[in-house]
């Protein structure tokens, strides 16, 4: 890994350069050593391996290696612009939509490579679900929103669709509120309901991994609590990778937590270990709110 790079270039991210107090020091930890052995004991669903990513000439991710354990909730934390969102969007290759993105390294979903020219990206995305920072229900009915991924696969059997809607809305704790208004526009739901609807939509196609990019950042505390409860209940059934700014949230919902900084994965381990006994000074400083 070329450590001088970070000294030459200012750490520019999607959101512009970030001001860091003090002089930058090269990070000496390697990807292997930053991961707690307890993570490596788990069976991984998703393996991120030596992944680098550039926006044009600016490198946003540096040699990220990170196995995501099956059936667990893994939280990605770190200050703004550290590459969490970039990383999670790289998993389902949403970054492909941005001009001038280049990458190196690979990821594997249950052993199948993600970054290869031969991969059918559309088929790949169908194996994952994603929930975004701002809820983005489609301009259609609640019912159609949930079964969107089935519809685009040409699924038109009424009983299958009905069954999926009920199952997903129940999983997303929205069934009781929405069962009588399935034909109403999804845009008429409240903010928290919309986000839960997006979660229902994301799990409709039985994803192998559920990606959540700060799912609660636009919600009020009550809606946040509901979504968190939901994420907590999804554990075991689904593998969740969640990006969050909220340390308490990470502590509450996740089994494992990864701390990212300036495009690097600095520390990755069981949430309890990371919060109670972080091995790095930066992690501790971030956790205690001294920067970030």
């Amino acid at each position: 890994m070329n450590n001088t790079q970070i000294v030459d270039e200012s750490p520019v991210t999607l959101f512009g350069p970030i001001a860091i107090p003090g002089k930058q020091e090269p990070v000496s930890k390697t990807a292997q050593t930053c991961t707690d052995p307890e993570v490596l004991r788990e069976k991984p669903v998703l393996e991120i391996e030596h992944f680098d990513l550039w926006y044009g000439t600016t490198q946003a991710l540096f040699d990220v290696t990170m196995p995501i354990p099956s059936g667990k909730v893994t939280a990605l934390i770190g200050p703004s612009g550290c590459g969490k969102s970039t990383l999670i969007r790289s998993v389902n290759r949403l970054n492909d939509l941005i001009d001038g993105v280049r990458y190196a390294g690979d990821m594997r979903l249950n052993g199948d490579t993600i970054y290869s020219p031969r991969v059918d990206v559309i088929e790949l995305r169908k194996r994952m679900g994603m929930v975004f920072q701002k809820s983005n229900p489609f301009p259609m009915s609640i019912y159609e929103n949930v079964i969107y991924s089935l519809r685009i696969d040409g699924e038109n059997r009424k009983n299958v669709l009905d069954e999926t809607v009920e199952r997903c809305l129940k999983s997303a704790a929205l069934w009781d509120e929405a069962k009588d208004r399935l034909d109403e526009s999804a845009l008429e739901l409240s903010g928290g309901q919309q986000q839960r609807l997006c979660i229902a939509r994301a799990i409709a196609a039985d994803p192998e991994v559920l990606l959540m990019d700060e799912p609660c950042s636009a919600l009020d505390p009550i809606a946040t609590a509901k979504v968190e409860e939901l994420i907590f209940s999804l554990r075991g059934e689904y593998t969740v990778l969640i990006v969050t700014h909220n340390m308490q949230q990470a502590a509450r919902v996740s089994d494992f937590t990864a701390f990212m900084y300036l495009g690097r994965l600095l520390e990755y381990g069981p949430t309890k270990t990371l919060f109670v006994n972080p091995s790095l000074k930066q992690t501790e400083d971030y956790m205690t709110g001294r920067f970030g």
Binding site: F132, P139, R151, I152, L189, S190, G191, A205, K281, R290
Partner: protein, 605 residues
């Protein structure tokens, strides 16, 4: 207090004063600087009020101009059909003039005219600086006077009266007649002597005449159908001769069948003609004796030996000065009904505009049906698929510039490309039997619609591009993340979401297209279209036919007719109608759009 500043990295730690880590705003400094100046008010320019006034007055001027124009059109258009009173002017020289006063104006009297006046009025006019007043009187009786209007100068007027027995008569030909109704006769026997009964008796007799007119129209429709069948059988013969040759057995068989058909049709035709003739002769028994102001009988037709006019010639007649308000409203409404539901008469200055309404409506509809998919498809490629670069920018600029090309140029293009090139080919391929008479190879409603679609496609493209760009990225990403392909995302998410914006573009295009005249004059609009583009003959829509258009009608009536002063009220009414039609189309589209917007309305955030 000292803070560790190197906490980010495990390198050497440097002690720093706290202010360098976290710049603390010095609130007291701000407060002091405010205090120093003491109480003051914000400057006017900073508050922005003058700009508000400027913007407000800009809006006010624009609104005023639009409202003024609308009011002018509305007032003139609405008042055209109101039955006015008929004034009888008695001039100094004893002449009498009957007519509706259309307007009055002040004018500068010429010296020669002044010299011919009486001493008294000369003194009055000289005192007012050579100005006098004159009235434009619609006298009607074009067949007698050679004009529909007369200027009556104030100083020449000896008296004014509202005579009771004066009727205004709208005729099928020669425009209006104004005069005194003396008697109504059947076979030269007066039906009534008492002038009080005229209105009742006339209504009865006229009702019969209108019924027989309807009968004649029905018979003429049948004759039209016969002609159509005759034409078809002739075309079949020609087709057979083109296909098999003149000497072939097929051609002979078809020709024989056609001859049989023709003799049968001719018999029918003669029968219908006889029926019409008998109705006409029955109509000929009823006549109205109407005399103008000077006491001349208003004749059936100018060239004939003086015979009184036929009741069946009369479209509508009423005693203008004794009409009750209710009857006046009836006349007013019946004129509107005639205007909206009948074909034009008298070089378009009288009668209705139904073919023009229909033509405008149908053309706008066809244009929208063509322009919407083309514009949307083009914009989709430009915005969603094409790699944004110099070429796409150039295309975009070209599209925008297309909107600035004079519309007549589109007309020339439409005539050259659609009518002659494409239409000519179609004729050669599909309608060789009609050649050299063109079917599609001349102006027609299809080509006019296509030309207008070409003219308005930039509007749709620009609006659609904007609408597509306004679809939130988060929605597209959400769709992609669900495993949708680009096309599925566009079809299921982007397009529905962009529909209101696209609708706006189509509304603008429709408004532009419905009001456009110049290109139509070259590509299919005519002064008078005998047949609507839609009738009961298969295939019902005849897209090759030329048509009438309200916009062109305005131009034609206002500036091309023999008597543009008589057509002027019609111009306003037609304008009102065109505006109403465009407004109607727009309202429908806007309501459709608002329903869509409601569907996509975000309730929260």
């Amino acid at each position: 207090m000292s803070v560790e500043t190197g906490f980010l990295f495990s390198g050497p730690r440097v002690e720093m004063p706290p202010s360098e880590i976290l710049p603390v705003a010095d609130a007291s400094a701000v407060r002091n600087s405010r205090k120093r100046k003491g109480p003051r008010s914000t400057q006017l320019a900073a508050r922005g009020e003058p700009y508000v006034w400027l913007m407000g007055s800009g809006l006010a001027i624009a609104t005023l101009m639009i409202l003024g124009l609308l009011f002018l059109v509305f007032y003139n258009g609405i008042s055209t059909f109101w039955p006015k009173r008929i004034v009888e002017f008695t001039l100094i020289d004893g002449a009498k003039i009957l007519g509706e006063v259309i307007r009055s104006e002040r004018y500068q009297v010429s010296p020669s005219e002044l010299a011919g006046m009486s001493a008294e009025s000369r003194i009055r006019i000289t005192a007012s600086g050579g100005w006098s007043r004159r009235y434009l009187v619609r006298t009607g009786n074009y067949d007698l006077y050679g004009d529909d209007f007369k200027w009556v100068v104030e100083s020449q007027i000896a008296g004014r009266a509202l005579p009771l027995n004066v009727w205004l008569i709208e005729r099928m030909e020669w425009g209006r007649a104004v005069g005194r109704l003396q008697k109504l006769t059947r076979d030269n026997i007066p039906l009534t002597r008492n002038s009080d009964e005229f209105y009742r008796i006339f209504s009865e007799v006229h009702g019969v005449a209108i019924d027989s007119k309807k009968k004649i129209a029905r018979l003429q429709d049948k004759i039209g159908a016969l002609n159509y069948a005759l034409e078809n059988s002739r075309l079949a013969v020609r087709k057979a001769s083109l296909k098999y040759g003149d000497e072939s057995t097929q051609h002979k068989a078809v020709a024989e069948a056609a001859a049989r058909e023709e003799s049968r049709l001719t018999k029918d035709f003669e029968r219908l003609q006889a029926e019409i003739a008998s109705i006409r002769s029955e109509d000929g028994r009823f006549r109205a004796y109407v005399f103008d102001a000077a006491g001349t009988l208003i004749p059936e037709r100018p060239s004939s030996p003086v015979t009184p006019m036929l009741v069946s010639q009369i479209v509508r007649a009423y005693p203008a000065n004794t009409l009750t308000l209710l009857k006046r409203i009836q006349v007013y409404l019946s004129r509107w009904v005639e205007f909206l539901t009948t074909e034009p008469r008298e070089a378009n200055t009288e009668g209705g505009v139904l073919p023009a309404i229909f033509g405008t409506f149908m053309m706008t509809l066809i244009m929208s049906l063509v322009v919407a998919p083309f514009g949307i498809i083009a914009a989709l490629y430009l915005r969603e698929y094409a790699r944004q670069g110099t070429l796409v920018s150039a295309v975009r600029i070209a599209v925008n510039n297309l909107a600035g090309v004079p519309s007549i140029v589109f007309g020339v293009f439409g005539l050259g490309f659609f009518c002659y090139v494409i239409g000519g080919r179609l004729d050669m391929l599909f309608f060789p039997e009609k050649l050299p008479a063109p079917t599609f190879g001349t102006g027609g409603i299809l080509w006019a619609s296509l030309t207008l679609a070409l003219l308005t496609v930039p509007v749709v493209i620009v609006a659609t591009e904007e609408a597509l760009a306004a679809v939130p990225r988060s929605m597209r990403e959400g769709s992609y993340a669900c495993g949708a392909s680009k096309w599925q995302t566009i079809w299921r998410i982007v397009l529905p979401r962009a529909t209101p914006g696209i609708m706006t573009g189509i509304i603008l295009a429709m408004a532009r297209g419905a009001g456009e005249v110049a290109p139509l004059m070259l590509t299919g609009v005519v002064k008078l279209a005998p047949e609507l583009p839609f009738d009961s003959h298969f295939p019902f829509f005849h897209l090759n036919r030329s048509f009438m258009h309200l916009g062109f009608h305005i131009f034609d009536v206002g500036f091309q007719s023999r008597n543009s002063e008589a057509g002027k009220p019609m111009v306003f009414t037609t304008t009102l109608l065109l505006i109403a039609l465009v407004a109607l189309l727009n309202i429908v589209a806007i309501r459709l759009r608002s329903r869509l917007i409601k569907r996509f309305k975000v309730a929260h955030f």
